[in-house]
């Protein structure tokens, strides 16, 4: 397959093989060395199948991200307690975050460690998704931690976050994508917008530490959350999020769109607020929709998007990861890859129809 003239990238996660999920549950410790072979098999298989879809950029499917896209970097820290905030999903279930018990705040692992494992298997560029500083900022408890101020925590958090991005860039990640799903959630929790603004502020503090060229390799992903075919903030109007989102000093934005009820309205908002030098990758397949989109359907969505968004600033992506939480089996691996294949083929079709700039 030739190079696409409209860039297309995945978000990140692919459902883990059931055997891996079962073995992790059986061992009780996701980092048990006895699981290494299974992890390797899962990663190798994921990359092979990812490449088979024709996707020009792939991920490792986050096969080793435990337990989820949000807490993977702090999972297992001894200075945390498991009783942090709950993230409520529309389906009724919640996911709980860890809470920092004492300072100093340090990552348990950086995401570039996933690249170390995956890149030897890959034949096409790989991107790496990481969690945003704003999401992790919610680990600091309401009551100040004695001897470890909130300011110290923020400093440590920014440094760790910056370190993670730099390490990924240094390892050759095609893009480093900051998962910012809490943006829409922030509006849901604080309709005044202050919470969202503070998130934008914090993330921009981190992004300001990178050069413009580096920021062209950094992107921000937002979606209404996706877990077990359910969302946490789909009811929040994009009109409240997107103007602030594009204030982030990133070069790329990955915006869930396929699952939106009024895509035209969202596309118009994007067109209004997208800045020069920024590229928006709109979601053209919806992981929470069990139906597999056809390439033609994807193509039609892109052509429609291109009516509003400058084709030179347009890219395509999945609405969300296919399994942001490692134990989510609501979507099969087969379905995930078929949706990705539809995205790739549909994007190529659209590129032939509307053209675009090389990625």
């Amino acid at each position: 397959m030739g190079q696409l003239s409209i860039p297309t990238e995945p978000i990140g996660s692919i459902p883990r093989p059931l055997r891996l999920i079962e073995e992790i549950a059986a061992k009780g410790d996701a980092s048990d060395p006895r699981l290494d072979a299974l992890y390797d098999d899962a990663i190798r298989d994921t990359i092979a199948r990812f490449e088979a879809t024709g996707s020009p950029v792939i991920t490792d499917g986050e096969q080793r991200k435990y337990h989820n896209f949000w807490t993977y970097c702090v999972h297992g820290l001894t200075n945390t307690t498991p009783d942090g905030f709950k993230i409520p999903f529309a389906a009724g279930h919640t996911r709980r975050m860890p809470q920092l018990a004492r300072g100093p705040f340090r990552y348990k692992r950086y995401a570039d460690s996933f690249l170390d494992v995956a890149m030897p298997y890959a034949h096409v560029p790989m991107k790496q998704a990481i969690i945003s500083a704003s999401a992790l900022s919610l680990m600091y408890p309401a009551e100040a931690i004695p001897g470890y101020s909130r300011e110290e925590f923020i400093d440590d958090l920014l440094r760790e976050h910056e370190t993670e991005i730099r390490r990924c860039l240094a390892k050759g990640a095609h893009k480093v994508q900051i998962d910012f799903t809490e943006g829409r959630l922030a509006i849901k929790i604080d309709p005044t917008g202050k919470l969202l603004n503070s998130f934008i502020e914090l993330n921009n503090l981190a992004l300001s530490r990178f050069t413009a060229e580096e920021r062209q390799r950094i992107g921000v992903h937002t979606c209404p959350g996706g877990d077990r075919d359910s969302t946490h903030s789909a009811e929040i109007d994009y009109a409240e999020l997107l103007p602030c989102l594009f204030e982030l000093q990133a070069g790329n934005f990955y915006v869930a769109l396929a699952g939106e009820t009024d895509r035209v309205r969202v596309q118009k908002i994007i067109a209004n607020y997208l800045k020069p030098g920024q590229r928006v990758f709109v979601g053209v397949v919806a992981p929470i929709d069990p139906r597999i989109e056809s390439p033609q359907e994807v193509c039609d969505r892109i052509v429609d998007a291109a009516k509003y968004i400058n084709a030179d600033q347009l890219g395509t992506t999945d609405d969300c990861g296919f399994s942001p939480f490692s134990d989510d089996t609501s979507t099969s691996r087969d379905a995930a890859f078929e949706k990705i294949r539809a995205r790739v083929l549909g994007t190529e079709l659209a590129a032939q129809r509307i053209g675009g700039t090389p990625p």
Binding site: L138, A186, D190, S198
Partner: protein
């Protein structure tokens, strides 16, 4: 905590974080301001350093090029202005005499090269002093510098700094570089300028040396004058500076006419002229030239305006420090013409080759060509399809690898036709029975020819093979030929087994490697394998042993039984191991089946007139061939014809058998008639003879009683014979009727024994009778039953030798009464046992039969027994081992008194016999085994005066012939042991005397053929019995005519 509380707490934490974030942002902003200031300082330093570095780089780059001196120096001063912020920069070079500095480049405030500073004497002004002192002069106070002559100018232009450097190469002055600046010169600037000065000095020096060398070389070159090519030198303006004699000749210009004129306007055609000029400009500006250093082909103009093709190469050079070019032109008109002709030829050849290739690809036949080493050089798509080789794969391979052909019958590879063609140099065609083995294993009969490919000199350069798939034609022809040969071959034989054997042989190897013919047996159940043929005859016996060990089950669901049962063919194009496994009885059987290497199998029915006679099984083994549906249809046609042949053969055999049976019956009847004749004549002979002797009164009275007894006895015998014949006649006509009544079989047996006791006693035969007490009476015809018992008993006595024994038993066996007569007589041969009860059949039908009678007794007995609802059987262990005749008669509850039939006596009239003594003294030997007949003849002949001797057998006769030397021999033919034929042959062989004895055959065998046979044997006369005495005398008298008097 409920969800709302949770959200509130989350909001609280986030907002508390916000203040910390704000603090962090402020600190970041402060850090950013400081960082910016540091960065600006650093950037300024960097910019300065970069500019100075760039100055050096630009100057160095200019010096490495080949621009003219003026351009080089202009580049340098412009770089100084650009990178060192100079207001004015200039370079002077010193003249060759070293006295004057000439201004060569100026940038900044002034760019002109004329004016008061265009030529500065060394030592004059500040520039001349720098040259003179060979030391730099630097100042940041120009406006007060004593060396500056025009201070007002400096003030007016705001000039502050000045730097001037002598341009020295190893202390040798080549010029001066100087600059003015409006800002103070930094030490870095001065360092940069100093380094640039050194570089510029070197550049000037090198340019000068280059120009001097090029100028010298060009001018002094004798090649210029003697060159065959045009050599044209031009300067940087494109004007001609040199024009050699070759150029004059080819371009038709005079050298003096073109020097100084622009070359492009003279010799470059208008279409290319502007491009040439632009190319020169680009080269002068950038140093980049598309055509420089390369050979290009263009057109050139002659003085008369005509164009001609030239090959041009242009080399840049520096002449006198200035850029110049030398062009080399060569007229390539002839070469172009030759190339055009060659191109045309090539095009034609390519067109022809393309046409040929298209033709070869289009034709329906396969084509392969090779080189002289039989290596494949071409094959068309049809050849690719047939050989299974792609052209790409086949190219470069030996033909025998791509085009593998074998003999269809032997499967051995045959010589490559390419080798034949290359060896013989002539066209060859493949032998028949040649098949192509494709790369993918197919076997394809082909029809082809090979021919040598020759070059224009006739030398073979390769081979072209043309071939085509003739599978269908060959198959059709083979089948037609096969059927043409097979049909008459099958039809020509009328022996079923031989037909089937021929059938199997015909099928191999044409239709199979292995052919078996199985036929349905007469019982309609059993299947018998009747013929097998195999390409390897040694395997036939082995196959038979396997078949014996693993016989085919008649109810098998596939194979021969199924085909015979259904009349439908079976075909297995492939025989997978699963089929073998399903067919095998056990592991050993499976192993054997696998070893057969069966590749394909087919069974077709032998079907004729709606009946399945059997089946033909056709198997491919080591040849690896496979049956197709076409094969099946063909095999069915073959089988149909074979079935007709088998049917015909069977019908023929049936007809032959019937004919044989009829012949046997006829012969039996003939023999019977002969016997009847003999048996009737024999007693008649005695009766007539004795009767006539009595009537003529020639017989002595004491012999009358004997005569009458003999007559009576023979009459009774004849009456019995006649009665038997009448019985047979009744049986045949169905008129033999029973007078049924209660019969006591014991009494009948008793009567029979009484009747025959004397006969048995005469032969000293021990006759034992055992009648069981439970032998109850039965219902039957007592006369006929007595006839049966008498017949069995009399036969036993007849065939039992003297001192033998006979046992007759009567006993009850179930619901039957069994009568058994067992003797120790001559027994019965096994092959005659089935015919014992047939009419007209006697075990000894020859004239040498030892026992008289018509042989009708047993046939009559069987019929009588069967009329009683019983059965009769015989058992004998063989000849010489006696026999047992057993009669089973159903027991009847009613009883009747039995009666005994008396045999009728016949009476006949006698002819008169008048003996005459005309045979007086004639010695006659009479030979007859029958005493009555013998005595009668003896009596008749003696009555005529003959001296008569008699013999009862051939040996006795021979003995008496030797002793008595009779004059006449009269002999019976049918005698026990040796017959009359034997006697006469032996007599004739005794010697001259005996050979001449007149002899007459006196025999009851009275047919014409009997007469002929007797005469052939050596008798002179044949006298059928009964014979009148007078006739006998007359015959004997006639015989005397043949006698050799002694």
């Amino acid at each position: 905590m409920n969800a709302d509380d949770e959200e509130e707490l989350l909001r609280s934490v986030a907002l508390q974080n916000a203040s910390a974030i704000l603090f962090a942002r402020k600190r970041a902003e402060q850090d950013l301001v400081e960082a910016k200031e540091r960065a600006e300082r650093l950037a300024a330093e960097l910019r300065a350093a970069v500019r100075i570095a760039q100055l050096g780089a630009d100057v160095a780059k200019a010096l490495t090029g080949i621009e003219p001196m003026a351009d080089l120096l202009r580049t340098c001063v412009e770089a100084i202005v650009r990178h060192v912020d100079a207001a004015l920069a200039r370079i002077w070079t010193v003249t060759s005499d070293g006295d004057v500095l000439e201004l060569r480049a100026s940038a900044g405030l002034y760019t002109h090269l004329n004016g008061p500073h265009a030529r500065v004497p060394v030592g004059a002004f500040k520039i001349g002093r720098i040259a003179e002192e060979r030391a730099p002069h630097l100042t940041n106070d120009v406006q007060h510098d004593p060396r500056v002559s025009d201070k007002a100018w400096a003030v007016r232009e705001g000039l502050t700094g000045f730097a001037g450097y002598p341009l020295l190469v190893q202390d040798r002055l080549v010029g001066v570089v100087a600059m003015f600046s409006r800002a103070a010169l930094t030490p870095e600037s001065l360092d940069a300028l100093a380094s640039v000065a050194d570089i510029v000095a070197l550049g000037i020096e090198r340019r000068r040396a280059d120009a001097l060398r090029a100028d010298t070389e060009l001018r002094k070159s004798s090649i210029l004058e003697a060159a065959m090519d045009c050599i044209i030198a031009i300067d940087s303006d494109g004007c001609i500076t040199e024009f050699n004699p070759a150029a004059e000749q080819q371009l038709q210009y005079k050298r003096e006419d073109v020097l100084g004129k622009e070359m492009a306007a003279l010799i470059i055609p208008p279409a290319h002229r502007e491009r040439h000029r632009e190319g020169m400009k680009r080269y002068i500006a950038t140093g980049q030239g598309v055509v420089l250093g390369r050979r290009i082909e263009i057109s050139a103009l002659r003085a008369d305006g005509s164009e001609f093709p030239v090959e041009l190469s242009i080399m840049p050079m520096t002449v006198g420090g200035s850029l110049a070019f030398t062009g080399y032109l060569r007229d390539i008109t002839d070469r172009r013409t030759a190339e055009a002709e060659r191109a045309e030829l090539l095009a034609r050849e390519q067109m022809a080759q393309a046409s040929l290739a298209t033709t070869l690809k289009s034709i329906g036949d396969a084509v392969i060509s090779t080189d002289q080493n039989a290596v494949v050089t071409f094959m068309n798509p049809v050849a690719e399809a047939l050989t299974g080789w792609s052209l790409q794969d086949a190219l470069g391979r030996p033909l025998r690898e791509v085009f593998r052909i074998v003999d269809d019958r032997t499967r051995k590879e045959v010589e490559s036709p390419a080798d034949q063609v290359l060896r013989d140099g002539a066209v060859v065609g493949l032998a028949s029975h040649t098949v192509l083995l494709s790369r993918d294993g197919r076997t394809i009969p082909i029809d082809d020819s090979g021919a040598p490919i020759r070059d224009e000199q006739g030398t073979p350069t390769g081979v072209v093979l043309v071939f085509r798939d003739v599978t269908q034609q060959k198959a059709a022809a083979d089948r037609k030929e096969f059927l043409t040969e097979a049909t008459p071959a099958l039809a020509s034989v009328l022996d079923v087994r031989w037909t089937l054997s021929r059938l199997a042989q015909l099928a191999v190897p044409k239709l199979a490697d292995w052919c078996a013919v199985d036929m349905l047996a007469d019982d309609g159940v059993r299947i018998e394998q009747v013929a097998v043929a195999h390409v390897d005859p040694t395997k036939i016996a082995w196959a038979e042993s396997v078949r014996q060990k693993y016989p085919v089950a008649p109810d098998a669901k596939w194979g021969t039984p199924n085909v015979i049962r259904t009349g439908q063919s079976e075909i297995h194009p492939d025989v997978p191991d699963e089929l073998l496994a399903a067919s095998a009885v056990d592991a050993e059987h499976l192993r054997i089946l696998r070893e057969l290497h069966v590749s394909s199998a087919m069974t077709v029915p032998l079907l004729v007139r709606g009946r399945v006679l059997g089946a033909i099984t056709l198997i491919f083994t080591d040849s690896g061939r496979h049956h197709t549906n076409d094969d099946r249809e063909f095999a069915e046609e073959f089988a149909r014809r074979a079935a007709i042949a088998v049917d015909n053969a069977r019908l023929y055999e049936s007809e032959q058998s019937a004919r044989r049976n009829a012949d046997v019956a006829n012969r039996a009847k003939d023999d019977f008639l002969a016997t009847v004749s003999h048996e009737l004549r024999t007693p008649l002979n005695a009766m007539l003879g004795w009767t006539r002797m009595l009537r003529t009164g020639v017989l002595a009275p004491e012999k009358h009683n004997r005569a009458l007894e003999t007559i009576e006895r023979n009459a009774v015998t004849q009456a019995q014979l006649i009665e038997d014949l009448l019985d047979v006649s009744r049986i045949i006509s169905g008129k033999l009727l029973l007078d049924v009544q209660s019969v006591d079989l014991a009494r009948i047996v008793e009567h029979a024994i009484d009747a025959l006791r004397l006969a048995s006693e005469a032969k000293k035969i021990a006759l034992v009778t055992r009648v069981s007490d439970d032998a109850t009476p039965i219902m039957g015809d007592p006369h006929r039953l007595q006839q049966v018992v008498w017949n069995l008993l009399s036969n036993a006595i007849k065939f039992t030798p003297e001192s033998g024994h006979i046992e007759l038993t009567v006993e009850r066996v179930g619901a039957t009464l069994k009568v058994a007569v067992t003797d120790s007589g001559r027994g019965i041969a096994a092959d005659f046992l089935p015919h014992v009860f047939e009419r007209f059949r006697q075990a000894d039908g020859a004239t040498t039969r030892s026992y008289g009678g018509l042989g009708l007794g047993l046939a009559i007995s069987r019929h009588i027994v069967e009329l009683h609802g019983g059965s009769i059987a015989v058992h004998s262990e063989g000849e010489g081992r006696g026999a047992t005749f057993t009669v089973l008669l159903p027991i009847s509850p009613s009883q009747r008194a039995d009666g005994t039939a008396s045999r009728a006596m016949t009476d006949g009239s006698a002819h008169l016999f008048d003996p005459r003594p005309e045979l007086q003294g004639l010695r006659v030997l009479v030979v007859d085994d029958d005493v009555d007949a013998r005595e009668l003849i003896v009596a008749v002949l003696q009555r005529c005066g003959s001296i008569v001797n008699s013999a009862g057998s051939v040996p006795e006769a021979l003995e008496k012939i030797s002793l008595l030397r009779p004059d006449v021999l009269v002999s019976d033919i049918g005698m026990p042991g040796e017959d009359g034929y034997s006697l006469i042959r032996k007599v004739r062989a005794l010697g001259p005397d005996a050979a001449s004895i007149p002899a007459a055959a006196l025999t009851a065998y009275a047919r014409a053929e009997d007469r002929r046979k007797a005469l052939d044997a050596g008798f002179m006369m044949h006298i059928p019995k009964p014979v009148e005495p007078a006739e006998l005398v007359a015959v004997v008298a006639n015989l005397t005519r043949f006698a050799v008097r002694r």
